[in-house]
Amino acid sequence: MRASKSCVAILIATLCPALMYGGTISGKITYTGTPVRQKPIDMSKEPSCAKQHATPVTTETVVTGANNALENVVVYISAGADDANAPAQAVTFTQKGCQYLPHVVVLQAGQELKVVNDDQTSHNIHPLAKQNREWNKSQPPGSPAIEAKFDQPEFISVKCNIHPWMHGWFAVLKTSHYSISSNGGGFTLPNLPPGKYTVTAWHEDYGTQTQDVTISGNETKTINFAFKAKAY
């Protein structure tokens, strides 16, 4: 019977960490002012892609939602958390309809990225990295996924030279605490141990903002970011 008491104690001890890391930072990303209208893309030079879109798609430099929500903003812990080991799971970046899906892919330094070509045309993948190595590979239709890894945290602009309208981003981070705002503009960073954190929000055109947040227990702290829209 004494044994069962110690068993319970061990059980509680192992469960405690899971219970401890319950802090959450969440909020909404919005914009103020009037964003420049996104331009429709003329894909007539690539008929195999043009026919995949009933109406022409637009550029994705600024993607907005209802109530001034700003999408594709990468929110992450830039200070206060340890660097995380890269997860074994790969992240996928797909070329479809001569667009990149997702427009911004977030991954950790050292994590595997799989680039897939789902189109009937060749693309070339050209990450314009500055801290990481810049490379450029051709990927004809039907060829296997290109596997890549990036060692340094960096926001890498990606393009296809054959199809000049294609632009995307690899957001390579050191931390595993990240979130990307989707069509409500919301983000959430759960599982945070108590501590003082710096939260950074990055948008490809509107720049970067930071806020400091302290987590003391299992509470949810709400912070919001408002980016000023650019006229052009």
């Binding site: 045309t121 500055k130 190595r133 490379w135 450029n136 051709s138 030279n161 054959i162 000049p164």
Partner: protein, 309 residues
């Protein structure tokens, strides 16, 4: 006389004191404004065959011959750079066009040695045949001091290039098939004139407009950015021209197929006398359509002169 000497000595002493005071006072008056020059780079070495280059021996050569375009900081922002197109190489990024190593990897010392000696056609980078081999090797070492990548990474392994198979019309035909299938024409144009549908929108990695290579303008003397031989063409598309829109096809073309593409590309240089153009003329001037061989024999072409693989 003695008094005069004393006066002289005193005068000299006083001038000295005044000079020191002036310098000290002057130094205090000048505010410490930036930018501060970067920390001096680590001295680097280069190895080309038996030749060893030392960066410390190239300082004055770099300053005299290279800094005007490539800049004192090696970032491509020399005084002349504003007038140049294409822009001088930015050594701080350690991204180089002409390599024997895979895309995204550092070139070998020999690659840089060859580039300096060969120059870069259609650019302002001269053929530096004025340097001795030792000077060139020292300059390669000096170029390596501009980026810490040289300390953190090893150069890539040079790619393996199999022996060139014979030039036959079958090889050329297969090359044309690959040129179409791999969509090279999208930038280079169907006749390799650099007028493909995507050609006018191409930009290099620093967002400067750039044009694809124009094969059709080639004559007997023409060179490519990275050389002039069939081996050089092979390397160009199997390693990619880093820093430009030209990607690497190493993952998509087998080494033997690559030689067929090389042979076809030579026929795009219509004004050039070459074995490829001879083979084309012998076949009546037209490239026959490619016929997929039913049993694809692997790369060893031991038998048959007209094997064309």
């Amino acid at each position: 006389m003695k008094n005069l000497k004393r006066v002289h000595y005193f005068g000299a002493f006083l001038s000295f004191v005044l000079a020191v005071w002036a310098v000290a006072a002057g130094a205090q008056d000048v505010p410490d404004v930036g930018p501060h020059p970067p920390a001096p780079p680590k001295e680097m070495e280069s190895h080309i065959g038996k030749l060893v280059g030392h960066s410390q021996n190239a300082k004055s050569d770099y300053r005299r011959y290279c800094a005007g375009c490539h800049g004192d900081l090696g970032d491509g922002n020399g005084e002349n750079a504003v007038w140049l197109d294409p822009k001088p190489r930015d050594f701080t990024m350690a991204t180089f066009k002409c390599r024997s190593t895979l895309t995204g990897t550092l070139p070998t010392d020999e690659d840089l040695f060859n580039t300096i000696g060969r120059g870069l056609t259609n650019s302002n980078m001269p053929i530096w045949n004025t340097f001795s081999n030792q000077q060139r090797a020292d300059l390669v070492a000096y170029v390596k001091t501009f980026s810490s990548r040289w300390e953190k990474e090893k150069p890539g392994d040079p790619i393996t290039i199999p022996a060139e198979p014979p030039v036959t019309i079958e090889s050329i035909s297969h090359g044309k098939y690959l040129f179409t299938k791999l969509e090279c024409w999208k930038c280079h144009g169907p006749q390799g004139k650099g007028d493909g549908p995507s050609a006018s929108t191409l930009t290099d990695s620093k967002d400067n407009p750039i044009r694809p290579y124009n094969f059709a303008a080639g004559t007997d003397d023409s060179r490519f950015k990275c050389g002039s031989t069939n081996h050089d063409i092979y390397k160009i598309f199997m390693t990619g021209v880093d820093g430009t829109p030209m990607p690497s096809f190493a993952d998509t073309i087998s080494p033997t197929d690559a030689w067929d593409l090389v042979h076809f590309l030579r026929t795009l240089q219509v004004k050039r006398h070459s074995p490829e153009n001879e083979a084309l003329k012998a076949a009546g001037g037209k490239i026959p359509p490619y016929v997929e061989k039913p049993s694809a024999a692997p790369a060893q072409s031991g038998n048959g002169a007209a094997g064309g693989n």
